[in-house]
């Protein structure tokens, strides 16, 4: 079974600037992958190559088993750009109808109504884009990306303009999509959100993937904190497996243990270490 997305040695040069310097990434069907990295790391370029908006300078990328950017590849994807705009004169329903025709989706009115309901815009069917708030437009953008039931969803900062309720809607939606077998590449700066919903996280820096794995795999043990009558002591570098031994030693030494806490790095710590070279 081909991967939903497979990039091998992907390079992209814009004039003198090298945006991607051999990025390798694989996203399986039904997997939710969070792509993290500082501004200018090459995340958007990678997503744009997957959509066919940008041509790679070297390397290759396949989407659903066919070359990225081909008509066949574009039949299977849904995309929400980081900076997008829809024509202000179109209503939400008209916009989705346009994208249905472009995507050759036969979903008709039922699909449009379902998508608007999913993103919480069921009552905004006839509202023109120019009359929508930024958050509403972003939710409409997500609905637009879902037109034609794509097998791979590429979301570039999909929650940047959303309030907490809107973010919750998107989170629930992503989990629902994963259960349906849709692969999602989520490009986001919101680490807590990525940690909550993603199966796997890839960290990009200077045009290449520097770390990837499940959020739990990426978080490393920072130590064990033991609270005794003498105070709190940190056993640096120790993990969960070391706890029985540490407690036993304390008790043997006549100490009284009131509490033990295993400390591990958060995704944020891992990310900051990765991007700062630490």
């Amino acid at each position: 079974m081909p991967a939903a997305l497979a990039a091998t040695g992907l390079q992209k040069r814009y004039g003198q600037a090298q945006a991607l310097v051999g990025a390798d990434l694989r996203l399986e069907e039904g997997e939710l992958l969070g792509l993290l990295g500082p501004n200018g790391a090459g995340k958007s370029t990678l997503v744009k190559i997957a959509c066919g908006l940008v041509r790679p300078s070297a390397g290759s990328m396949e989407v659903l088993g066919v070359p990225a950017g081909s008509i066949e590849a574009r039949r299977g994807i849904g995309y929400l750009a980081e900076l997008f705009r829809f024509p202000g004169w179109l209503s939400a329903d008209e916009l989705l109808s346009l994208h249905q025709r472009l995507a050759a989706s036969g979903g008709g009115e039922a699909e449009r109504a379902e998508l608007l309901a999913i993103v919480g815009l069921a009552d905004a069917r006839a509202v023109k884009v120019e009359a929508m708030s930024k958050g509403m437009q972003q939710r409409l953008g997500i609905a637009q990306a879902l037109v034609g039931s794509p097998r791979l969803l590429l979301l570039d900062e999909p929650t940047s303009a959303l309030d907490p309720v809107g973010r919750r809607i998107v989170r629930d939606l992503l989990q629902e999509l994963r259960s349906r077998g849709v692969a999602v590449l989520l490009n986001s700066h919101l680490l807590s959100e990525v940690e909550l919903v993603c199966d796997r996280v890839a960290i990009m820096l200077d045009g290449r993937i520097v770390q990837q794995g499940a959020p739990a795999e990426l978080s490393r043990p920072r130590g064990v904190e033991v609270e005794t009558a003498a105070g709190t002591r940190l056993y640096e570098g120790k993990g969960r497996d070391d706890v029985p031994r540490i407690v036993a030693e304390q008790v043997q030494a006549g100490g009284q243990v009131y509490g033990v806490r295993v400390l591990s790095s958060t995704l944020e710590d891992t990310y900051l270490e990765a991007v700062s070279g630490g």
Partner: protein, 284 residues
Amino acid sequence: MRVVAAYAVQESLRRRVFTVVLILTAVFLALYGWGASLAFDEVTAFSGEGDPGEPVDPEVVAGSTIFGLAMFSTLFLGAVLAVFLTLSAVRGDAERGLLQPLVVRPVGRTQMLAGRFVAAAGVCAAYVGAVYVVAMLITGAVGGWWPDRVLAPGLALAAAVVVIAAIALLGSVFLSATANGIGVFMVFGAGLAAGLLGQIGEALSSDRLEDIAEVAAWLLPFEALYQSGLDGLTADARGFTDFAVQLGPFGGADAGGPLLWVWTVVYVGLLGLAARAGFARRDL
């Protein structure tokens, strides 16, 4: 391509520029009717000053001159419409984030471009055709003058704005909206200047100036089409009347012949190929 073209037509008709052009057109046609009425009223005096040995048909001179001016105004308004409907079709829309959601759909970039062109060309040609017909009806109603060829000048004018739309669309692949708008209007102005140069050359009997003007008009065939359209207005005029009707203001009448139509099709095709090649290479 049909979906993109239908969307682009819808977009064209809902744009403010279309409303502005419609208002300007209504004002122009009202003023034109008034001006034509005054011009025809003055025709008798003009006729009285003519040389009895070289009879001039005053109705033809007045009708073709004022209708030639109307054709120029129609071309200008059509050019404004063509430029504003296409100036940001690629790079401008991409910079605003409007293009990317459409381009990622399973529609080829060539089809996307062709759809935009068909829509812009269709809207502009229909607009120019309608204004041409209304101006002709006004001229006929107030002065009783009708062009010798009715269809050919209208078609030439429509083809001229189609060429301008194609130039603006090509420019939109490489230039930002503002730069493209300025550039296309400069090209349009160059075409008009070529027509003016040709008239000066004719007045001074300078073959070289006339040759330069002709080459320029064919390099920018909207000007040659406009001149061909003017020629159709008085195609049957003979003698001094034919000499007197030096239509303008930017370019005298000059029959382009069938070769002009072939060249126009080839020209638009070449512009389309260049736009396609540029768009295919463009990162969005």
